[in-house]
Amino acid sequence: MMRSVFAKTLYDKRSFMLGWGIGLAALGALMVSFYPAMHQDGTIDALVANMPEAFKGLIGNLEDLRSFDTYLASQLFDIRLTLIVGIMAIVLGLSLSVADEEKGELRTLLSLPLSRSRVVRQKWLGMVTVLLVTLLGLAAGIYGVMPFIDGASIEPQQMLRLFAMTALMMVACGTIPFAVGIATGKRALATGTAVLAIIGSFILSTFGQAVDWLTDYERLSLLHYFPAVEIVKGSIDLVDVAVLGGLTVLLLAVAFVRFRQRDVA
């Protein structure tokens, strides 16, 4: 079984996968089970009429609570999941890059006849796989509870679009700390960059609708390219795919080039 850095990464992170997978499954199940309480039409109409625009960024547009697909997209994918998954990606990205180097395990790996490119490639693929497995946990949680909830139904294509874009965003989020960590070996820089990009994006997107002067900067947020409600309503915008995918590829390219040259402590 233990025949590659990729397999080793999955083995090392098996508890991580299990723990976060269960956590995301629970989150998905809970959010689905809350749906009947959230979409009572009369209540929503009154809330929508009285809600200031500024609150929409913080709690989502209440119009979206009217149907299950937009409820799920806004309340789970748009507001909660992005932050939770962002934190998970930071933890995972850091542990597979700077943490391994700080422990000295990266040096041990590099003493084997494995090229630096191969080590980075397999570690990154391991990270992506771990993230996708936890995402399966979320899917299991949603689909596990959905049949038992009145009115909770969503088209498979809608769900597929949501999950595909969530996966792309997760990979981009994980790649930020991973790539900076691999490129520099510096924990503070990798953590700072990831927190700034991911948590900063969350703050920018949630407050962007409420604070006038932030509106112009909202495009700098990663979440701007993950409009969950629009994704579930229509189709995937290729610009969003290009930005998230392009960022991932660019960061990885920098990590590959720098790691092939730099000292490993």
Binding site: R3, S4, K8, Y11, D12, R107, T108, P113, L114, V264
Partner: protein, 302 residues
């Protein structure tokens, strides 16, 4: 049996960390089949030098070559196919068991089952437990098995016996002797001169980032001498010509004189015979460890 083909070459290698020179202008060659000990105090630059050989670190200037090829981080893995490496403080993947780690290594390079079995028999590592639960010595056994696993042409070891019990240290030294008999090249750093002297053809001494001695072990053995301590009431007594590490103190009308003498024993005998008012004399073998220490810490011992 060594030949003149250099497998390890460092030419005017310097490694700087900021303003600090960890390694300064080091030039060193190790020929195929040589077993070379690399000795020095903590912070002498041994590990930094080995890290450059393995491509973990870039040299700030100078050339590092293995098997005639320049070593760079990007291409170091090519030479690693022909190298075995272990370090005393090597951090093995703690989540894996010893068996899983060795399986990962076997997948990375070609390993004969017979070789694997032989090493397991020699070092008796605990393979079934997670590495993070093992004692330092048991982790070190796995690191050593890993270093010898592919039967590499060159074995590079960085303080390999730290953490090993005396029995396992002897097993390790026997392994090195075996490598030597089979014409393998070994480059090992150590704090322990005795260990190096037992198995190495040559000893390279490093101090403050520089190579200060590069001698054949046989020469080093000849560096031993006699430690002489004399107590006399005759204050003008001088040590014999060629005495080293001279220490003298006059107190309570008595002169205490001590020195190391590496010259002709007959000359020492004549000097002793000529001492006036001799009160006490002690002559003992001068410890090789002390002799070696004097090479790299002259200011501390003279």
């Amino acid at each position: 049996m060594s030949t003149s083909i250099p497998v390890i070459e460092l030419s005017a290698v310097t490694k700087r960390f900021g303003r600090f020179n960890a390694v300064s202008d080091v030039t060193l060659g190790v020929s195929r089949g040589e077993v070379v000990g690399f000795v020095g105090a903590n912070g002498a630059g041994k590990t930094t030098t080995i890290s450059m050989l393995l491509g973990f670190l870039n040299a700030s200037s100078g050339d590092v070559r293995l098997f005639g090829q320049m070593v760079r981080p990007a291409n170091a893995h090519v030479s690693h196919r022909r190298i075995g490496y272990a370090a005393g403080d090597m951090e093995l993947p703690g989540q894996l068991t010893g068996a899983q780690y060795l399986r990962l290594l076997r997948a990375a390079g070609s390993v004969e089952q017979e070789r694997y079995d032989e090493l397991i028999k020699r070092f008796s590592p605990q393979l079934g437990k997670k590495i993070q639960t093992l004692s330092r010595g048991n982790k070190q056994k796995i690191a050593l098995v890993a270093a010898f696993l592919t039967d590499p042409e060159v074995i590079i070891l960085d303080e390999p016996t730290s953490g090993l019990d005396p029995v396992m240290q002897e097993t390790f030294l026997e392994m090195i002797r075996d490598c030597k008999r089979r014409g393998k090249t070994v480059f090992m750093s150590s704090h322990y001169l005795q260990e190096v002297m037992q198995v190495c053809d040559r000893v390279v001494l490093m101090s403050q980032g520089r190579i200060v001695e590069d001698v054949q072990t046989s020469q080093l053995l000849a560096m031993g001498g006699k430690q002489v301590s004399v107590t006399t009431g005759y204050r003008p007594t001088k040590p014999p010509k060629g005495a080293q590490e001279v220490f003298s103190e006059f107190a309570d009308d008595v002169l205490h004189l001590s020195f190391v003498f590496k010259g002709d024993p007959g000359e020492l005998q004549r000097w002793v015979a000529a001492i006036k008012q001799l009160r006490d004399i002690e002559i003992s073998e001068y410890n090789l460890e002390e002799a070696f220490k004097s090479l790299y810490q002259p200011e501390a011992t003279s």
